[in-house]
Amino acid sequence: MFATSPSNSRLQATLTLVPVAFVVLSVYVGGVLWAAGISFTRSSMLPNYRFAGFTQYINLFSNARWHVSLTNMALFAVIFIPVTLFIGYSLAAMINRGVRGENALRTIYLYPFAMSFIVTGLVWRWLFDPNYGIADVARKLGFENASFDWIVNADTAIFTIIFAAVWHSSGLVMVVLLAGLRGVDDDLWKAIRIEGIPAWKAHLYIIVPSIGASITTALVLMCLTVVRLFDVVVAMTGGGPGIATDVPAKFIIDHMFERQQVGLASAAATTLLLLVLLVSVPLLYLKNRRKGAVE
């Protein structure tokens, strides 16, 4: 119906993207910039434009809860990412060998990811309950003094959250890495067998580097989970006991609504954005440099 000369189809493609670009620029980028602007005001429940300089940032960094949130996010990243990567890779490597019932196994391992973080958090909260959860099952089985109260102890509660998150995301990482492994040339596997290289060495030094793209994808997805961590904390511990499992996203949401401190919450959100940029921009730069060097 429409003429499809090359320049015409380019025009069509550009026109299709204009609304999306407009929405992204005005809503997303505009919203981020506006929030950063609000962080310099004295906004409480509703935004106002009473300039306050860096007051909100000073309040933010003298807030003990914010320190706990940042520490928890760092701890979460440092433990969650490597452990999930390891488990996901192990599952993918085992399935890749062509086991029977591969489809069934893949479905089973992917199932936790199909659950929302809220359901995951709730399920694990009940399982970890010191009175009625796994500890109670152990007691009923005869272990009289079994107790597992990590979730109610301020020092160890964050690890229960990490556990639930690892359980939730391992399936996804497995699927992503499996796709990468499937792309590895059969000849490579044959060569490894002929050379007699032990399996763990083969995986670590040969296979993993060759599926770099899949690993990067998995890493990006996990980093998103780390920064966005909110629902599993709300469902599992509500930020408790005390404030021990507080995370930046929960800090921001709590202060923006219930505490009626939009200015402080915006400062926290802007700080979180800066932290993410601090980590991601150098990585992007490195990646482009390497690409440039290869070309």
């Binding site: 409480s44 429940m45 509703l46 003990a64 809860r65 909260r125 309950d129 010191p130 009175n131 009625y132 107790s147 109260d149 979730i151 109610v152 102890n153 301020a154 020092d155 511990t237 509500g238 930020g239 408790g240 006991p241 005390g242 404030i243 021990a244 709590d254 202060h255 609504f257 219930e258 505490r259 009626q260 401190q261």
Partner: protein, 411 residues
């Protein structure tokens, strides 16, 4: 082909007529957080009366006070306000009022003579510059402790009235293999519990200095420290599963005889009633250190500036429903809260609500809760301090006192 087109067009137009047939129904959407069994029963009472008066109640129940309020505020700011929204008595509505997002209720208040009908304290907390912005719907006593009566009888103690008696009872319950104390583990209830201890132990004067004047010196004083010590001792009796536990779940432990004591406001009456338990035979209630008085809290309905005439009419009808004395009384009985309208029929109240009602109407025996007097930022800051102190492995008593004192100046 033409026939099909005509048929479709006619059906579409006919459906439009059908939709507009209900246009003159008085619909009112109400956002609130009353989701527990007893609270829902209370909402039904209100909704029934509203329907009787000719309206159509659109219920929007959201679990959790902070969540319900956040939703309501977002709706108001976004330009699609509900007809009414539930807030707590106190400073939560101030910024909405300052931004001219609320409907001025002074006209209705004068016409309906609210000054005569409602307790002065509740009306005052919703008044700014002589104009009334919030309609009190319920009153509560916040500093009550609740006991399972059969367990009290089993361990051979009467209802404790002082902290020494409480700790003795808790020790006996622990020895009998029961959970001594099953508090709710959400930060806002821990804060409620702390306020109860402060009033009972530190005394009315210190409590009022902290709550009304935000006096940091009072926080650092000896009486407050004594209260902190009692709170610290109470911490050891809380059961292991309490962090994060909701108040209905904690109350259930007392209802089902697994725990001796819990802490909560008069709304727990509703939870007991919904489980078929009666005051005096199945459960007992007491304020520990009752001579210092009762902490009042309450709920109010706020009415956003109506979007159109239909909403204004719906709001008028809601106002009529909420200030109808028999309705409010029936609502309070179902909910387990204190009937606040003068002239309410108090014969059906159980012993616990009757006691609370008596404290409520006496200015010497009632004082405000922190949520009524502190702006939300301060409430949040002291709540953080309290929950950090209450949790295992948290702050020490001295660190907590400093954190609380600093929290009083949060903004």
């Amino acid at each position: 082909m033409i026939f099909k087109l005509l048929f479709t067009a006619t059906t579409a137009v006919a459906l439009c007529f059908a939709a507009s047939a209900n246009a003159d129904e008085i619909k009112a959407e109400v956002i609130h957080q009353w989701t527990s069994a007893a609270e829902s029963a209370g909402v039904k009472v209100l909704a029934q009366k509203f329907t009787e008066l000719g309206g159509s109640w659109v219920d929007n129940a959201i679990s959790g006070g902070p969540n319900a309020r956040a939703t309501a505020v977002n709706r108001v700011v976004g330009g699609n306000p509900p007809a009414a929204m539930l807030f707590n008595t106190g400073a939560q509505f101030i910024e909405l009022q300052e931004n001219e997002l609320l409907r001025d209720l002074t006209e209705t208040a004068t016409a309906d003579n609210w000054q005569e009908k409602m307790p002065q304290a509740l009306l005052n907390s919703g008044t700014v510059d002589g104009k009334i912005w919030a309609l009190p719907i319920s009153g509560n006593g916040a500093n009550w402790f609740w006991f399972n009566k059969p367990i009290l009888d089993k361990i051979g103690v009467s209802t404790p009235k002082t902290w020494d008696e409480v700790f003795a009872a808790l020790d006996k319950a622990k020895a009998a293999g029961l959970i001594p104390f099953a508090p709710s583990g959400e930060p806002r209830w821990e804060r409620l519990m702390f306020n109860a201890v402060v009033l009972g132990v530190a005394g009315r004067e210190t409590y009022d200095a902290v709550i009304y004047k935000r006096d940091a010196a009072a926080v650092r004083g000896d009486k407050f420290k004594a209260a902190v010590k009692v709170f610290e001792k109470l911490k050891d009796y809380a059961d292991a599963g309490s962090p994060g536990r909701s108040w209905p779940d904690s109350t259930n432990l007392v209802i089902s005889g697994k725990a001796l004591m819990t802490q909560g406001g008069t709304w727990l009456n509703g939870a007991f009633a919904a489980a078929g338990k009666s005051a005096g035979s199945d459960y007992e209630c007491a304020i520990i250190g009752a001579d210092q008085g009762m902490i009042i809290s309450g709920d109010v309905f706020l009415f956003p500036e109506p979007a159109d005439d239909a909403m204004a009419k719906a709001q008028d009808l809601l106002l009529k429903t909420f200030t109808d004395i028999p309705t409010q009384t029936a609502f309070a009985v179902a909910n387990g809260t204190i009937p606040i309208l003068k002239g309410a029929d108090t014969s059906k109240l159980n012993s616990c609500i009757a006691q609370a009602s008596h404290y409520f109407s006496d200015a010497k025996l009632a004082t405000a809760g922190d949520q009524m007097m502190f702006p939300p930022a301060v409430v949040g800051a002291v709540e953080d301090a309290i929950t950090r102190f209450w949790s295992k492995g948290g702050l020490t008593a001295d660190q907590f006192i400093e954190a609380y004192a600093n929290g009083l100046s949060a903004s």
